[in-house]
Symmetry: D2
């Protein structure tokens, strides 16, 4: 089917490739004219036949909001906007309400798979009205991995549910990565296991911990067996924070996911103010700093 | 090759099947004579041709120790004992030292895969002398998953390293399960995601969180979509505790794995003594219990 | 000085007593006419001489907001509203902005001390303009504990800073209570320490862990040495959640405070959905439930 | 009464002062002859009148063990050894058993209070036979804070119970310090609270979080308001680790205390191997490192 696609970055660019390879007609727009098919969003919309479907794939927050606002002014009743970025689910409600004023439908889709999605297909989680989701199914069927639809796509619920599911997915991802990372550090700290990279590689098949993330860790360690070329500095892009905030809203204990988030925060600190306070306290009750580990 | 196998429970029984199917000669012993090939360990040893190889696959702790002691009295110099249970790595040192007094070699092997190993092969982590590990390689090659050896087997280091690697593997496993579990609970708590089981199933392909454990969760939810038939009561069998203890010994922070362990502890409590103390404190400073949430 | 006081619950009632005992003139209003001095907020305002000072001490959220809105319509330019409840600091900005439209000043005050404040004085943390804080200082000096002002009162910063400081105070309080509670549970679980209540009481003087909260725990255990009469069910009233949310906003790791919050969440669950998922997973890979602790 | 005292470091030296000031006769030994009263342990014992009481106050582990062994050879049946250092409770059993062979009694005492104990008295937790504990009560009554005995001393149980109680005390201490430290860091991260040191000082009286540790934090911040002169590097001396290990042995969840321990571990790492692994994973699935926060 025909699709307008706003945002041709690492994700959008690959998605256009995958869609075209499967016979869809994609009119892509990006600020980078070297990759864009249309010179502006207005021009892109003009190339589409009503009822139009436009996929938005730009960074979440203001870039997505302003794109939706612009589309609200350009599209017509009966058109459909699909928000495929990493928006917070609460933003979806605002987007949908704005577009609904013009009779434009809205579906939010959480997209997982990173740079590997181009080849493997993307895991998709959609939120919205059933009719709207059905309408875009040819697109979803191409983007998702081949095989059984239910193993790579879900219509998770109403508007916002797609990004909610993706948020939780990413929260889990934080926890999974932290678990592997802790295990790696412990193996590396042991003087008994002399082949750490080989041990992790041996977990690739047959074990309970085998996974795609493990395969990626094996891949990373094949290039750098002791991970010496990397700094233990890890940023976070929102979904992990939102997951913990949602867990607080619902009074759901999420200690492992939260531990993963806090470990990232700590990884970015040159020094820990909290640990300064602990050091100060130990100094106070234990005497001089150099003796502070004696008294208590 | 020829192998004596002590312990024909859920794991040992399946391993015998897999070994025989690949042409090995297995003489199995178990207290359950219905599944045993030999009537005693002595009889089993008598059926083996020196230099013998005996695989021990009984519960860790005293059952394993007493089996190793018995084998020490029955085997000869040049024989080999493989400990494939879930022993703590420190026990391996004792086992190896005892057997070395009689010139018997020792290899410890961590075995992962559960009931699925019969079909998929088992992930194997071995510790011991290189010559001893090489000697048992035909057995390992049959038990491990088909394909590249390094993706299902590792010689992780000297005696103890196999079980150390398995211990860390299980610690990671605790963390992975906890991460999925927290995500599941949050999805279930949300009223936005209306298809929780479908969402988790949709993560099976293409997503970053896809894994064998996820596949098992999908499988469990196909039988019981809301997991209503299960109690949230989870035991632990040692490796998780040992992992945290080792992380303390090496001053390695393992907050996610530890969170998983503590969540299991809490799952087995009818009431939390700690929370009684918190309730008592709030009652003390806030006034009467029924008003305790007011003052502070 | 003269003060209008809206809200004569457990906190407000005691504060009126303490203020009057020190010679202030308090006109109190409460929906409960049995404790009120004025029949309505309007009547209360009418009894005050301009420039008026009105202290709001009602539950946070809508009760506080509606009270502030009503005061905005009744007070005059030059009057001062003090918000002493447990409002979130973000609400203070809204309150201050609304009142500023009518030229009314606003100070937020975090008040700690619970039911004991009547006797001991209350710890106070104020936010607002310096002139406004100074104007209410006679009130603060009476409410705070006797002695050095700086050891029971702080002008923490601009509007919102008082409640921000109180929020962090309460977050710390969560962590402190959790630490004592965990220690209590461990002592109680040990069969070595035969006098748990006596041990905790012995910490009252001389030790590093002595505190007012410890004194309260001793007091609770004098009435119920094993805390048998209490359920380990603990509610939470907002500040703990906000503290964790703020720590996320500022990328500050707060694992101990968060652990305390999650322990409260868990204390209110009959069964843990997350632990159902872990049990389901173990069942899947380990075989039948009754044998699930064997394979892995 | 008369007391031999082995170890005149920061703790032992002050204790001798406090004991002498209250009229006890103390014969102290230390490797540092400048502070010692006797030239050797043998000489010290020779100066005591049977039945003798000797207090051991040297670092835990080998220094304590070798001192106890030496005393076992010098003392007579009917004498009493008091172990006042920070021994692990399991060591007490070994010590008591060794001394019992010679008919020598043994009491273990956890001592809290740090350098402040000289002036305030020390919190004491004793383990042993009632008769042995009673025999040393004049010493305990002098060392503990003045006032009610039960508020500074406890006979917690049999041999080992004193150090067990002290271990838990220190575990709690870890948690308390972590809670204050997290609150400090959050206050410092906020741009709303402009007087962080003043806010913490204001918590000194009237608030729920007031404590001796808070007083020490106030004291530290009076010298260095932003704790700029300290590094956030915190060692640990055993009791925190043992507390977590005991909590694992008893299946008691101790997330806040464990968080405090792990924060100390992390404070001593230049870079986190675990976070290298997380960074490696994000790099793998998200594309080039510089873009790694985009894809997921």
């Amino acid at each position: 089917m025909q699709l307008g696609l706003v945002g041709l970055g690492k994700m959008g660019y690959n998605m256009r490739e995958r869609l075209r390879a499967d016979g869809h007609e994609v009119v892509g727009y990006d600020r980078d004219q070297q990759v864009a098919d249309a010179s502006s969003i207005t021009a892109m919309v003009a190339e589409l036949t009503a009822p139009r479907t436009v996929w938005v794939m730009v960074p979440h927050g203001e870039p997505t909001s302003s794109t939706v606002r612009e589309l609200a002014g350009l599209l017509d009743a009966g058109d459909l906007v699909i928000e495929g970025g990493n928006s917070r689910y609460t933003d979806d409600r605002d987007n949908a309400a704005l577009l609904a004023e013009s009779g434009i439908s809205y579906v939010d889709v959480g997209v997982s798979g990173g740079v590997w999605g181009a080849e493997n297909g993307y895991g998709l989680m959609a939120g919205g009205e059933t009719a709207d989701v059905q309408r875009a199914m040819p697109i979803f069927d191409t983007l998702r991995p081949a095989g059984e639809r239910a193993k790579g796509f879900v219509h998770a619920g109403p508007v916002g549910a797609g990004h909610y599911a993706k948020m939780v997915h990413n929260g889990i991802e934080y926890g999974l990565m932290q678990a592997y990372a802790e295990g790696f550090e412990l193996l590396a700290a042991s003087d008994l296991v002399t082949d750490v990279a080989g041990t992790i590689k041996a977990w690739s098949h047959g074990t309970v911990v085998r996974s795609w993330l493990l395969d990626l860790l094996v891949r990373a360690m094949e290039q750098d067996p002791e991970l010496e070329q990397l700094q233990g500095y890890v940023t976070d892009s929102g979904e992990g924070r939102w997951t913990v905030e949602e867990s607080i809203n619902h009074a759901v204990p999420t200690p492992a996911i939260t531990a993963a988030l806090f470990a990232r925060f700590a990884s970015r600190q040159d020094d820990s103010p909290a640990m300064k306070a602990v050091a100060a306290l130990r100094n106070q009750f234990g005497g001089h700093a150099v003796q502070s580990s004696d008294g208590e």
